[in-house]
């Protein structure tokens, strides 16, 4: 797996991706002027974008890149996640230009706190890049915990009572989750150090993949359970999701977009890495069925909760849980189609959800309320935002021609075509369902579609009530173009474009990423 050429040839893209955010974060602490802060932020994000493009070319040409000793390992899967991080990060930076300036102008944020905001933002970014590039599962854990620590104050940034509450809840629940995941990593190490002998590299993905079939299945089973519950808390799978709606509601809009679009994706990535290893030692039904159950429960519970929401940011938060459930169903069914659909869905969800939180930020700034009932007549007060809101909602409920439709279709078709190897679907050792194969597939698809309809109704009726009608008294009409509108346009274009055609490099990257997860 380790290619020698990766060590010899220059690795500047990797250095830029890791050092860029750290440098920018430290600079943000000393810079006072808002304009310079934004300039530093945007320059860094552009540099990351360029570095990521170069890295993608390398990965496509060579398969994988191992560098910085063996600390960094980038293959198609991690490169795909890095693309999501940099793309959403860049659009967030553009959006923040107008969003943060307006918050400062209104006095919501003290100008001196802006530097701290950008510092935390870049630390968050660094932790995510590190988690994605880390070769060692242990380092990956450290970085994922780092994301929790960096974001908790971002969520509580407005320092209102509710945001402090949300930030504390997030810190505590995710720390507990992640402590359980660490025990899972320890157990993985427990099994691998016995086979590999060399203690310092026994957690490296490059080493583990080679010997995974010789690891002890019982230890790995227990390890995966702990890792699933631990990182599943970060993903926001039901029933470990309770921090998520609060955090997304209280976080500033661009941060909510980062949490929903990128952090969840990174958390799913950490799960996929472990799954790829465990699947070699155990039949893939073990991890598959677990993911399937968590995916279905999240999907169904979130769909129902969407019906109950009075707050549009919470609405989008529950929609995130639902979409992560959907991606988990894809990975749980597995195979080429399911995994491809799941991965593609991660990208589509990131785009749609970032768009949704951007428009939520626009609506909130104009209407000063998060209540769905408090917002009327967006089409008249903010025409551009209204169109973007509708498109985000269409994309999130999976309507064509937007790209989530394509990935959801892939997941559903994988679900309907699946063949369970055994007659009985074991979930742990406690629940066992014995139904014929066709019945089970048809049943699962039917449940899936039923809740899809529930979701459609709930989401569209609520968004519709916000868009149509006439605005309340005292709400200004008309919308002027700002820098913050650029990411809206880009997201809409991407959602439509990816719905029709997948660019060749992305398709190749996705296909290779699938083979990383599905080895056989």
């Amino acid at each position: 797996m380790t290619d020698v050429s990766g060590i010899e040839s220059p690795m500047w893209p990797v250095i830029v991706l890791l050092a860029g955010p750290v440098l920018a974060g430290l600079l943000s602490l000393v810079i006072r002027r808002a304009r310079v802060l934004h300039a530093v932020n945007l320059t860094t994000m552009l540099a990351l974008g360029v570095a990521e493009t170069v890295l993608t070319r390398r990965v496509l040409a060579e398969g994988s890149v191992t560098t910085l000793g063996t600390l960094v390992y980038v293959d198609a899967l991690s490169d795909f996640i890095l693309i999501i991080i940099t793309a959403i990060g860049l659009s967030c930076s553009l959006y923040m230009w107008s969003y943060m300036d307006e918050q400062v102008a209104r006095g919501v944020i003290a100008p001196k706190h802006l530097g701290a905001f950008f510092f935390l933002f870049h630390m968050f970014l660094f932790a995510m890049v590190a988690a994605t590039m880390a070769n060692s599962l242990g380092v990956q854990w450290v970085a994922v915990e780092g994301t929790t620590l960096a974001t908790t104050f971002l969520i509580a940034f407005f320092r209102r009572r509710e945001s402090l509450e949300a930030g504390w809840k997030y810190l505590i629940l995710c720390s507990v989750g992640i402590a359980l995941a660490l025990f899972g990593v320890v157990l993985t190490y427990y099994s691998s150090v016995r086979v590999l002998g060399d203690a310092s590299s026994a957690l490296n993905v490059t080493e583990l993949i080679g010997v995974a079939d010789r690891l002890d299945p019982n230890v790995l089973k227990l390890a995966f359970l702990f890792i699933l519950v631990g990182y599943g808390t970060k993903v926001g799978l039901v029933p470990m999701h309770t921090w998520l709606p609060d955090a997304y509601t209280e976080a500033p809009a661009p941060i909510a977009a980062m949490l929903a679009g990128v952090l969840e994706t990174v958390a799913v990535y950490t799960l996929l890495r472990s799954k790829a290893i465990v699947d070699q030692a155990l039949p893939s039904e073990f991890t598959g069925n677990l993911l399937l159950v968590f995916g279905f429960v999240s999907f169904m519970v979130a769909s129902l909760f969407i019906l109950l929401q009075h707050n549009y940011k919470r609405l989008f938060a529950y929609s995130s849980i639902e979409h992560m459930g959907l991606a988990m169903i894809g990975f749980g069914v597995g195979g080429l189609v399911g995994t491809f659909g799941g991965l593609f869905h991660l990208l589509n969800h990131a785009l749609a959800k970032a768009l949704a939180f951007f428009v939520a930020g626009n609506i909130h700034r104009r209407h000063d309320t998060l209540e769905i009932d408090g917002v009327r007549g967006l089409a008249k007060s903010q025409p551009v935002t209204a169109v973007a809101t509708l498109i985000a909602a269409f994309a999130l409920v999976g309507l064509p021609p937007f790209s989530p439709f394509v990935s959801e279709l892939l997941v559903v078709s994988a679900l309907s075509a699946q063949n369970f190897a055994s007659d009985t679907m074991h979930v742990g050792r406690f629940v066992a369902l014995t139904i014929s194969d066709e019945m089970r597939s048809v049943g699962l698809v039917a449940v899936f579609l039923l809740f899809g309809v529930v979701l459609f109704g709930g989401m569209m009726s609520k968004i519709g009530s916000m868009v149509w009608g006439s605005p309340r008294e005292g709400v200004a009409r008309g919308e002027s173009w700002t820098v913050g509108h650029v990411p809206l346009l880009v997201m809409v274009a991407a959602l439509i474009g990816l719905g029709f055609a997948l660019p060749e490099p992305v398709r190749m990257l996705l296909t290779r990423a699938v083979t990383v997860i599905v080895q056989r």
Binding site: V142, A156, A166, L171, N218, V219, L222, T249, F305
Partner: protein, 221 residues
């Protein structure tokens, strides 16, 4: 089994059991400052266990981990937590989600569960530290339980740190410590988490006049 290994294994087991007992003491303790002291004591036992394993196996890098445990978990973190408590207007936790006798019973059950879960994987372990893995899981579960049972931000933090101690005992017992870079990263994360929790209790106190997390009810469905 040679006589010295046998003795060593007995000593490691003794230390692990002391760790477990200090967990029960945390669960049974109402005074906040005593909870912090007990956590410091537990971390001291942890450092002793790690040093013992390092001595008996000759794995030098575990000494470093033991030293870091003393610095971070016996000295720095308890000091931060004590500072936080000094600022508070309460010193005892009177109302809990689950009362103390019931809590102790549940924790006893958790220990049984931990031994039951680790049964199939224990025989793979090193002779020296075999049973410590089960004890480590028991400590993790009890720490988890403490976070659920208690309402004060400080005791919830102690619960989290107890969980972390359990994981650390697990690494020492199961694999004679993790790779150095991971070990250092974990210590760094725990330290920062402690600092952040300290700042939070400060802000929560200002905003709510209380660090009782049951007051945190503004966000509901």
């Amino acid at each position: 089994m040679s006589e010295s290994t046998h003795l060593g294994s007995q000593l490691v087991n003794l230390c692990s059991v002391l760790l477990l007992l200090s967990c029960f003491a945390v669960v049974a303790q109402r005074r906040l400052s005593a909870c912090v002291d007990l956590f410091a004591l537990q971390s001291f036992f942890l450092a002793t266990t790690a040093a013992l394993v390092a001595f008996l196996t000759g794995h030098r890098h575990i000494y470093l981990a033991a030293a870091l445990t003393v610095v971070v978990k016996v000295i720095v973190l308890p000091r931060i937590l004590r500072k936080v408590i000094e600022r508070l207007n309460v010193s005892r936790e009177l109302v809990m989600n689950i009362n103390i006798p019931a809590g102790l019973l549940i924790c006893g059950g958790l220990v049984v569960v931990a031994f039951f879960i680790t049964q199939p994987i224990i025989p793979l372990g090193y002779l020296l530290t075999r049973d410590s893995l089960a004890i480590a899981l028991a400590i993790i579960l009890i720490g988890f339980f403490t976070m659920i049972a208690r309402k004060k931000a400080v005791t919830q933090m102690v619960g989290f740190l107890v969980m972390e101690n359990g994981v650390f005992l697990g690494t020492t017992a199961a694999a004679y410590g993790m790779p150095l870079i991971v070990e250092l990263g974990v210590f760094f994360d725990v330290l920062v988490a402690g600092l952040i929790a300290g700042i939070y209790t400060h802000r929560l106190q200002d905003a709510f006049d209380s660090v009782d997390t049951s007051e945190l009810t503004a966000l509901k469905e």
